[in-house]
């Protein structure tokens, strides 16, 4: 079997989900309300009493940024409010357990497993097929069929491409292709659904390897006849391992002299760096953000590792189909004399209209989730399952990371601009709040940019955005910040958030480019995330980060000179801004580390 860079991680064990604790939840709610109250008081004071009238051009953007960021804090408290995990039950056996039969004969349920692929190494897909075939189920009469949905049409017709069909045949699984790539992954899934008949189906990406108990642990949720889909956490089992700081320094400077290396080991040997250097670990997202949305029935589908009820997506597709025909018929009738549409045109209309179970969109998963949640007639429910049931690969170089995250951002923003869930009929108030939260997070570069620039502006203009860093400033700011930190710590209990925080700040530039691209109306591209390692340097991506760090250091030096000469007008302002900029530099530096990171093998 082919060896991949991740083969050595095969034995890694998945993390356990955070157990629910009602006392911790109550404490979180208590501190959450205090954070919002203190935040409101701080923001009120900032607008009413703190603006520097001599530098409003600087003071107002900063206070606007702080207000927008505070809105995020409120949304986080709402999102993190409480867990609501569903009761785990035994796997389903008969169709009658998951559907109302309405005079149909009962039979064992049928389950399909779709592995969507485009251009990935066929041996990588083979690993996913093997693991999919290993999935256990307690009832032998329940048919579980695995299908490879190959959008790369690698069926042997092109000698320059690997033969995916051959691999599927060798493994004894189904192989489905289509002659075009319309709708990208959503179109590929549609093709799979049109050629299969499973009552439930699992979506896996080419690199998604299900664990043996996937179906056993998740199919029982569908006893709830409103359950449209169950999303399981995506666990990236190939994230970079921590290294000691001393070993990094030794290899970087090729140090071998033991009189140098020994003291280095003693002093820095316990400090670990480079763990998950690309900030890929999605635990915070799946175990906290999405899982806590179960509370509002607003956990959305993320594609790979999700388990669906065919009836839900097909009902939605048929509804769209009917509405589409109605709309086109109305349009056609308005163009015809007397409003009469002839049979031929009606037939063309019917043939042209497609049944689309997953929306044809770069973010087909979240878009379809919004549509299903908004279906008041059927009142579909969704669930974020807490435990890991599959493993997959993360991006292994900065370029791929950026492309992947820009696709997420552009997809979500595109939905916000074209079919905003806030105005979507059928969604509940809290579902709207949760979807708004997701979209709002992609506007963060607007205020992050101001937070990054503010200390630099101070260093070179010596103008303060506040009247003074006085007692009043700290009496409002510190309680809010301290309480905010306590609240976030309680909300994310048991999960390291350092790397996530760093990437939240340092990805500002790429997210800003995505925002601009969507505002300019550029079509959202569906980029397939590369599944292999590219050890190329990505210096071009980190120029904004290097410029900001350079300006910060230059600014600090300039201010230190002024201070030493006794010419600095506001030493307290310098102290506050220097402190602030050091945090900015630490956050920005992770992107530089990621750009220069090279795997050892």
């Amino acid at each position: 079997m082919k060896q991949f860079y991740f083969s050595k991680f095969d034995d890694r064990k998945p993390y356990k989900s955070i157990p629910e604790n009602k006392y911790r939840t109550l404490l979180f709610q208590f501190t959450g309300i205090l954070t919002i109250a203190l935040g409101l008081s701080y923001i009120h004071w900032r607008w009413a009493h703190s603006l520097n009238p001599d530098a409003l051009w600087f003071a107002i953007p900063l206070v606007v940024a702080e207000t927008l960021s505070f809105l995020s804090t409120i949304l986080i408290v709402i999102n993190f409010w409480s867990y609501k995990d569903a009761q785990k039950t035994t796997p389903v056996h008969y169709l009658s357990e998951i559907e109302d039969l309405q005079e149909r004969a009962d039979r064992p349920v049928k389950i399909d497993v779709f592995i969507a692929t485009y251009n990935e190494d066929v041996e990588l897909v083979r690993l996913s097929i093997i693991d999919a075939k290993k999935m256990k189920y307690p009832y032998p009469d329940v048919p579980i069929k695995v299908y490879v949905l190959d959008d790369g049409r690698r069926d042997g017709r092109d000698p320059n491409k690997q033969n995916m069909k051959e691999v599927a045949q060798e493994e004894g699984v189904g192989y489905l292709i289509r002659e075009h790539n319309e709708g990208y992954k959503a179109g590929n899934l549609r093709n799979g659904l049109m050629h299969t008949d499973g009552d439930l189906f699992v979506i896996l990406d080419a690199d998604t390897r299900p664990l043996p108990d996937f179906l056993i642990n998740t199919s029982g949720y569908f006893r709830n006849k409103k359950m449209a889909w169950v999303q399981t956490p995506q666990w990236f089992y190939d994230t970079t391992e921590p290294e000691t700081l001393s070993s990094v320094i030794k290899s970087k400077f090729k140090l071998k002299n033991r009189f140098i290396t020994k003291p280095l080991d003693v002093v820095l040997g316990k400090i670990e760096v480079n763990e998950d250097v690309f900030g890929n670990d999605p635990r915070l997202f799946y175990d906290v953000i999405l899982r806590k949305r179960n509370n509002y029935n607003a956990a959305f589908c993320c594609g790979a590792g999700s388990f669906h009820r065919r009836e839900a997506v097909m009902t939605l597709a048929l509804k769209d189909f009917a509405e589409g025909i109605k709309r086109k018929h109305k349009l056609l009738a308005s163009q015809r004399q007397g409003g009469v549409v002839d049979i031929k045109s009606k037939r063309t209309l019917l043939l042209d209209q497609k049944i689309i179970p997953f929306k044809f969109h770069a973010s087909e998963d979240i878009y379809t989730s919004i549509m299903l949640h908004a279906d008041r007639e059927n009142q579909w429910e969704s669930l974020q399952h807490p435990d890991i049931e599959c493993k997959m690969l993360s991006t292994q170089d900065l370029d791929s990371w950026i492309k992947q995250h820009q696709r997420y951002a552009e997809g979500s923003l595109d939905i916000a601009f074209k079919d905003n869930p806030i105005f979507k009929k059928g969604l509940t108030f809290w579902q709207k709040v949760c979807y708004f939260n997701t979209i709002w997070s992609y506007f963060a570069p607007l205020w992050i940019l101001i937070f990054l620039l503010s200390p630099i502006i101070f260093f070179f203009t010596l103008q303060l955005p506040v009247q003074a860093y006085s007692f009043d400033f700290f009496k409002y700011f510190l309680p809010f910040q301290i309480m905010n930190t306590i609240t976030i710590t309680l909300g994310c209990w048991g999960i390291a958030t350092k790397r996530g925080d760093q990437y939240y700040i340092s990805s500002f530039w790429f997210m800003l480019l995505s925002l601009i691209s969507v505002i300019r109306g550029k079509k959202v591209q569906f980029n397939v995330t590369p599944k292999d390692r590219a050890n190329a340097k990505n210096t071009q991506h980190i120029m904004p980060h290097m410029i900001l760090i350079g300006l910060s250091l230059l600014g600090i030096t300039y201010n230190l000179i002024l201070l030493s000469l006794g010419h600095h007008p506001t030493p307290s302002g310098f102290a506050a801004n220097a402190f602030w900029t050091i945090f900015n530099i630490i956050d920005l530096s992770i992107m530089i580390r990621a750009a220069n990171w090279k795997s050892e093998d």
Binding site: Q29, I33, L38, L40, K475
Partner: protein, 98 residues
């Protein structure tokens, strides 16, 4: 007793909101000269005028406020005012010498 357990959460949140409001209002009233001036940061009942610097305007303001509200009697107020004036004069002289 069990039939009243449904009240626990609403009561908890009402207390939570009241506490948050109280905290915000108390923080708003804090001023620098309050540090060490009273036995408790939040309960300004027992004044400790000796524990704070004697020469800033916040101190003077709160001294008058405490006298007005009856926390200081006239003898103590007189004494503290004298100390304040002395400290201010000393500070001004020191600054002039500089």
């Amino acid at each position: 007793m069990k039939k009243y357990t449904f009240l626990v959460k609403p009561v908890f949140f009402i207390f939570n909101l009241l506490f948050a409001t109280w905290l915000v209002l108390k923080i708003e009233k804090l001023s620098p000269s309050d540090f060490g001036r009273y036995k408790s940061m939040f309960e300004h009942t027992e004044a400790r005028p000796d524990k704070v610097p004697q020469y800033d305007k916040y101190y003077l303001k709160t001294l008058v406020e405490d006298y007005r509200s009856g926390k200081l009697d006239s003898a103590m107020f007189d004494l503290q005012l004298e100390k304040f004036i002395d400290a201010s004069v000393n500070k001004a002289t020191a600054e002039k010498k500089k």
